[in-house]
């Protein structure tokens, strides 16, 4: 355990890197995913199919394969991303698929009757979306989305495999010096656990808090 405590300072940079990657992935994918999700649920057929295909395609491939493809594969096509941006691109592309599905689920969980009631008082499509559908959908979007955020943090550990100096890579580096793997892995597990557990606990809390709104 001594070794683990002494190694803590060496993990700070990696932890920050993990948080930065997670933050970028989560925020970029949120914007793109919500826009694409809106297209999926409300858009015309020509918009629906490409988005549907994208989401099913990207969620059907292991993230690791995606990361390797973007980092090692794309340079062959003339697109050179350094390992940091390759990691961001691959993880974001993947997370967008999740956000699309979470958004779709949230919006479609709002019963059709809400649209009818909103139509009956004369609201137009965008007004219905802004004042009736989305305010309710947000409550159903948040809990699964926060879980998706926790997923992103966990998934980010894979970027160590293309040499991004995140928490996982720092742990490996320290082990490379101390030859004492177990304390470091346990320490790493605890750090990831603290981050992700607080996220999933938030998600659960929101779920209970919002449950009263369900008719």
């Amino acid at each position: 355990m001594q070794a683990a405590i002494e190694s803590l300072p060496y993990l700070v940079d990696g932890l920050i890197m993990t948080l930065v990657i997670s933050f970028l992935v989560v925020s970029i994918s949120l914007v793109i995913g919500v826009v694409m999700g809106t297209g999926l649920v409300f858009g015309p057929t020509w918009l629906y199919w490409p988005i549907r295909l994208y989401s099913d395609f990207i969620r059907g491939i292991p993230i690791l394969v995606l990361i390797f493809t973007v980092y090692y594969g794309l340079p062959a096509l003339g697109l050179n991303l350094d390992n940091f941006w390759a990691a961001i691109a691959a993880l974001t592309a993947f997370k967008v698929g999740h956000v699309i599905e979470v958004f779709r689920g949230a919006v479609q969980s709002i019963h059709h009757s809400q649209t009818e009631a909103a139509k009956a008082i004369g609201l137009t499509f965008w007004q219905r979306l802004a004042f009736v559908i989305l305010p309710q959908a947000v409550r159903r979007f948040l809990p699964p989305w926060i879980n998706a955020v926790a997923d992103a943090v966990k998934g980010s550990a894979l970027v160590s495999l293309i040499g991004v100096a995140d928490l996982m890579l720092d742990i490996q580096k320290v082990i490379g010096r101390t030859y004492e793997p177990m304390p470091l892995y346990i320490l790493g597990a605890i750090i990831y656990f603290v981050i992700n557990y607080s996220l999933s606990a938030t998600s659960r809390r929101l779920e209970t808090r919002y449950s009263y709104v369900r008719e």
Binding site: P62, V65, G73
Partner: protein, 221 residues
């Protein structure tokens, strides 16, 4: 773009990808079976057990679910032998990891399934004089499995994708096969252009097959 695609190297070594794919499917299958056994026991302990047992089960579930799979793979393969003074093969260690990982996710699934068994059904079982064990075998489990079937299919597919992480400890599954060809031929984009569809097609083929099976199962009841 002046890159010239050349798939001939891929086809020459395609057996590595094919064998890798089969191994991936096997790893996922063994892991989900072990994971289901553990998950079932844990979920029953959780549902029927007292407070201390519930906390223990919950602690296990939360610990495993909130740590990256990659870290768990390292921990089981490098970490545990380093203090236990024994060794096991990379494949065996990965199966242990993925089973433990699957179990943690399945506890949640089974727990929800057990909660979904209507109380009236259990009362009906009591009313015809079934023992608790008989009620479990003939009422609770069959009802629960019907509820959780779709989640089991999804879990299997996601475990299948997770087997790609086994490549980091050189288990010769599909992603490892891809890396081997990369290192030996440098036809990287071609390899992934073949491997990604292999994951995709296999995953969706299994999903559709399982969904058909589910439907038949549901109709037959």
């Amino acid at each position: 773009m002046d890159y010239h695609f050349n798939f001939s190297y891929i086809w020459r070594h395609f057996d590595r990808l094919w064998d890798g794919l089969i191994l991936s499917l096997e790893l996922a299958l063994i892991s989900i079976l072990i994971g289901m056994a553990i998950g079932l026991v844990l979920s029953l302990l959780y549902t029927d057990g007292g407070r201390p047992i519930r906390s223990l089960v919950l602690a296990y579930v939360e610990l495993v679910r909130n740590v990256p799979l990659l870290l768990l793979v390292y921990l089981v393969f490098y970490g545990i032998p380093s203090i236990g003074g024994f060794e096991y093969s990379a494949t065996a260690s990965f199966v242990i990891t993925l089973s433990a990982y699957a179990a943690a996710h399945l506890v949640e699934v089974f727990r929800a399934g057990l909660d979904a068994v209507p109380k009236g059904l259990l009362d009906a079982g009591k009313a015809i004089g079934l023992s608790p064990w008989q009620r479990l075998i003939h009422v609770r489990l069959p009802t629960m499995f019907r509820v959780v079937l779709p989640s089991l299919s999804n879990t299997y597919i996601s475990l299948f994708k997770d087997t790609s992480v086994a490549s980091v400890i050189a288990v010769p599954e599909l992603t490892y096969g891809a890396q081997w060809i990369n290192f030996n031929t440098f036809r990287i984009i071609e390899v992934y252009a073949v491997v990604a569809p292999m994951y995709l097609v296999t995953g969706y083929a299994i999903l559709f097959a399982l969904q058909r099976l589910e439907r038949r199962f549901v109709v037959r009841r």
